[in-house]
């Protein structure tokens, strides 16, 4: 019997597949590439492992030893953390950069808030243990991903259940599930976060699509973010999906400023071989609307403007390229004339030059010809305190306070809880809603300022979710003023088909708070105590010592001292 290399490979592959299907684990990987209209390229890697038939651990059984879990493809480190803290659904994103909704459209992964964002749905237990498990979970994830997720303590944790609905199903345990959400906008993302991320994949970065994840290129992108999403699908099992999203700029990489790109030019790598344990391994390219490009090699399949390349183990290395041969150097579109690619555009600012109070403004522009209802979520740490009674809404200069409906508000507690504001905004067609609110900047203790205190504090992004399109009363949802043209009609038809609400994140803001003089604690204590002691001592002196009248005249026979009856 000869054990040639190919026989050994086939034997191992068969063994893996048998093992995987016996356990009920399925691994699928996918890369989606989308050329954007400003010459950039959006790439989204998605690695999904499904543990068939599994259910999340019941937190009521946390005191009992867990049943043995055998994972082949499912990441063990992450699985252990999920079962240790009895987590049903988890979403962790680590992003860097500002997602430009107007020019890049909606991202493939909705969680694009800058910095670290962690939200989990966990079931409660009978003396409530959610907060304790949340803390344990944060620290475990911080250790796993080398990110300072331990800073997401109760100064940053809220529970905005209206905006962050569970994406999977929640099993029916004794007590209901609770949401914990926290953001750390100042968290940086770098290779040390990517390395443990890759370790969670079955094939690591050795084969399959993950071999394209070259940190030198990924962290050079205009926008990049990695995400870990765990959810429970009732009919399937527990699914872990690792995602990496990035926006590259081929124009910047090319020496003659052309927007031609290929996997080699963008990632500096190609897909050498497929991951043997992946059930499906595909690359999808969203084809641009104009036809002046050339794509090579030929795709396996083209459906509905999306070209699909299936990666087979036998073929040679895959290097997809897209070129515009007729074009010279890329010419950028005039951004002021280009229509926005999303239904609404959001901008948030902090106005005011003082360090005692400021004004928060939010501008939401409705780009559709129909009325849109959007949910607005602000979870603001106590570093900015809202004066909710000064919240005003204007459309075109006219006050329209009726367009803002506050659903819930929990005020901030200094040195602990953040503020949570959830409101519903009603946006008239083709109009911009301006919200303004006075805010006050608190004064922190000496020990609460970070080492670089003059930089200021990063404030987490606001989340706007357009969830209702069109006036619920009219079935067509047409604008009153203009007859709908052909493209508008198709737009309205698509909208009326019930689009899934998608979260939009505003950029983070920086607030600079007044700092005390950090060199002065001793001096302040001694000066204040000196003043207090001086006054106290003088008062004590005056109140306790008797007054006597003494004669200072040196004539000896008139020497007399009179006591005063005090």
């Amino acid at each position: 019997m000869r054990w040639g290399g190919s026989w050994r490979t086939c034997f191992l592959l068969a063994l893996h597949l048998v093992a995987a299907s016996a356990q009920g684990e399925v691994f699928e990987e996918e890369l989606t590439l989308r050329p954007l209209r400003d010459g950039k390229l959006e790439a989204r890697f998605s690695f999904a492992t499904l543990l068939k038939g599994a259910t999340p651990r019941n937190p009521g059984a946390l005191t009992v030893d867990d049943e043995a879990q055998h994972y082949t493809l499912f990441p063990l480190a992450l699985g252990q953390i999920l079962r240790e803290h009895a987590v049903t659904e988890l979403h962790l994103t680590l992003n860097a950069g500002k997602w430009n909704y107007d020019h890049w459209g909606y991202p493939e992964e909705p969680g694009v808030g800058t910095g670290a964002e962690l939200w989990v749905w966990m079931a409660d237990t009978s003396p409530s243990s959610v907060d304790q498990r949340w803390q344990g979970l944060r620290h475990s994830l911080a250790g796993l991903f080398c990110a300072s997720l331990g800073h997401l303590d109760d100064q940053r944790t809220t529970s905005p259940a209206l905006t962050f609905q569970p994406e999977g199903s929640l099993p029916n345990f004794t007590h209901p599930h609770q949401l914990r959400h926290a953001t750390l906008p100042s968290e940086h993302v770098c290779t040390e976060n990517l390395t443990p991320f890759l370790k969670l994949l079955p094939c690591k970065s050795l084969s399959g699509i993950a071999s394209l994840l070259n940190p030198h290129r990924l962290f050079d992108a205009d926008w990049h973010g990695l995400g870990v999403h765990v959810r429970y699908r009732q009919d399937a099992g527990v699914e872990v999906r690792l995602a990496f999203q990035a926006v590259f700029d081929p124009v910047r990489y090319s020496h003659d400023r052309r927007r031609d790109w290929s996997l080699r030019s963008v990632f500096d790598r190609t897909i050498e071989r497929a991951c043997p344990v992946a059930r499906s391994s595909v690359v999808r390219i969203e084809l641009p609307s104009e036809t002046s490009y050339v794509m090579s090699p030929g795709p396996t399949d083209v459906v509905d403007n999306v070209a699909t390349f299936a990666i087979d183990s036998g073929k040679e290395a895959l290097d997809i390229s897209m070129q515009w041969p007729g074009e010279g150097s890329f010419e950028y579109q005039d951004t002021s004339k280009a229509p926005p690619l999303t239904d609404i555009s959001v901008r948030r600012n902090l106005e005011g030059t003082g360090q005692a109070e400021a004004r928060l403004t939010l501008e939401v522009a409705n780009n559709l010809p129909i009325q849109v209802s959007a949910g607005y979520l602000e979870s603001m740490p106590w570093h900015l305190q809202f004066y909710l009674h000064t919240l005003r809404a204007h459309v075109d200069g006219a006050p329209r306070d009726d367009l803002v409906n506050i659903i819930s508000y929990s005020p901030p507690v200094p040195h602990s809880r953040p503020a949570l504001l959830q409101a519903v905004l009603t946006l008239p067609p083709h109009a911009t809603l301006h919200l303004t609110m006075d805010v006050s900047k608190p004064f922190l203790r000496y020990t609460e300022h970070p080492p670089d205190a003059q930089r200021g504090w990063d404030l987490p992004p606001a989340v706007v979710v357009p969830f209702a399109f069109g006036d619920p009363l009219s079935t067509n949802g047409t604008a009153a003023n203009e007859p709908p043209s052909g493209s508008l009609r198709t737009q309205q038809r698509a909208l009326a088909q019930g689009r899934r609400p998608r979260r939009m994140y505003t950029p983070v803001m920086l607030v600079d708070l007044a700092t005390p003089d950090f060199s002065m604690p001793y001096n302040v204590i001694i000066m204040s105590c000196t003043l207090i002691a001086l006054i106290f001592g003088s008062v004590f002196n005056l109140l306790t010592r008797r007054f006597v009248v003494v004669e200072v005249d040196p004539r000896p026979e008139k020497q007399a001292a009179t006591d005063d009856a005090q």
């Binding site: 003082g354 004064f443 000066m527 204040s528 200072v552």
Partner: protein
């Protein structure tokens, strides 16, 4: 009410009312000298707004007013720009009237020539009318304080103790005034600084009054709890004076001290500063047992310097009350120095605050230094008042004799 056919008082009140309706006060609302986190008008409006929308205003940390104010302004007296200007002007007018009544009771005359001056001094003192224009609730506290003292001077114990209990609900440090006001109820307010005698009224008479005061306090506390539905308000209102959670700058001495304090020492120094306020009560009352009005006046001075969250109203009240003790004027040792220090500090406080927070060209030390100077000015006024109050008992000295302390 003995109304005075003189037109000066109504004229002053009308002038204040006009000033209250002027557009200027909008800029004063956020000024840190005029309102503290416990008295700020915008926080009051925020609390009322949350209360009316079903959110507990005491669940968060920015509303620190008493629940009685919450219920008053959300039911009986809604706060609009017109009603608030009227209310605050009325509070100032009532306080000025109470001060004039105290003066009249002290001199025993029905009408004197100084009445107009005293009313004008209260209504036109910038330390008092600026916080009132900024709609800081410290004006209401001043009104209750003067009403409590006035009713005590008249011997109307119940009214006096009720006003004092209401004042305690608004501001915890006012507990210092309990002893002198209680004892003022059983003695006469006539000036006896020049002829000190031991306490002539039996102390036993004060015990039922103390019980009455405690009864009023308990009643108002339970009323506040009914308004809120829980006891969270205690920690946020009274607890704020004891634990200093909000470090917003003000003209007092506590905020920067506790900003720069390390966490390990914070509880100890909070305890020291709070107990320090209490140790002035007994000595002042014992030393001035012949004139409890003067003891109350001196304790107001102590509050002005050492209160946790002062505004300009507190030293304003103290300085204005100098006007009802003209007998001590010849015996003040350094009135001009005190006045100049006050002038110095009162000009520098807003300037340095603005340089630090609005223009960004100064830092916190500038404002802190001006609060130290302000504290010195108030301390100098307090010390001068104590000295003069004691010195007056000795009277004129012949040539060749000097006062000394042993």
């Amino acid at each position: 009410m003995d109304s005075d056919p003189d037109f000066a008082f109504p004229a002053l009140v009308a002038a204040r009312l006009l000033l209250a309706f002027a557009p200027l006060p909008d800029a004063l609302k956020y000024d840190q000298q005029l309102s503290s986190p416990l008295t700020s008008y915008s926080r009051l409006r925020e609390g009322i707004y949350l209360f009316q929308h079903g959110i507990d205003p005491y669940s968060g940390g920015s509303f620190r007013h008493s629940p009685l104010l919450l219920s008053l302004f959300s039911t009986v007296l809604p706060l609009t720009p017109y009603t608030s200007a009227l209310l605050w002007t009325a509070a100032d007018a009532v306080a000025a009237w109470a001060l004039v009544r105290i003066w009249r009771l002290r001199t025993g005359a029905k009408k004197t020539s100084r009445d107009r001056q005293i009313a004008a001094l209260y209504l036109l003192n910038p330390y008092i009318f600026l916080p009132s224009l900024a709609l800081s609730t410290s004006s209401l506290e001043n009104m209750l304080c003067l009403l409590a003292i006035m009713f005590a001077c008249r011997g109307r114990a119940s009214a006096s103790l009720l006003a004092l209990a209401a004042l305690l609900q608004l501001s915890l440090p006012s507990i210092l005034l309990l002893a002198p006001v209680l004892l003022l109820n059983i003695t006469r307010p006539v000036s006896r600084l020049a002829l000190p005698q031991p306490l002539d009224a039996p102390l036993k008479q004060a015990v039922p009054l103390l019980a009455e005061f405690l009864g009023y306090t308990v009643l108002l506390t339970f009323a506040s709890t009914l308004v809120c539905g829980n006891w969270a308000w205690v920690e946020k209102t009274w607890g704020a004076s004891l634990t200093l959670p909000d470090l917003t700058p003000n003209p007092g001495l506590w905020w920067y001290f506790f900003t720069e304090m390390f966490d390990h020492f914070r509880p100890f120094f909070l305890m020291v500063f709070s107990v320090h306020l209490l140790i002035y009560v007994a000595p002042m009352c014992i030393k001035f047992q012949h004139d409890f009005l003067y003891a109350a006046f001196l304790l107001l001075g102590v509050l002005a310097v050492f209160k946790p969250y002062p505004t300009l109203s507190d030293p304003g009240l103290f300085l204005t009350m100098f006007s009802i003790f003209p007998e001590i004027y010849p015996y003040l040792r350094h009135p001009i120095v005190t006045a100049l220090i006050h002038l110095h500090a009162s000009l520098l406080l807003p300037l340095f605050n603005s340089l630090w927070l609005r223009q960004g060209t100064g830092n916190a030390n500038f404002f802190y230094a001006s609060t130290l100077v302000f504290g010195m000015g108030n301390g100098a006024a307090l010390l001068d008042a104590i000295w003069a109050g004691l010195r007056i008992a000795i009277g004129e000295l012949k040539d060749g004799f000097e006062i000394a302390q042993e």
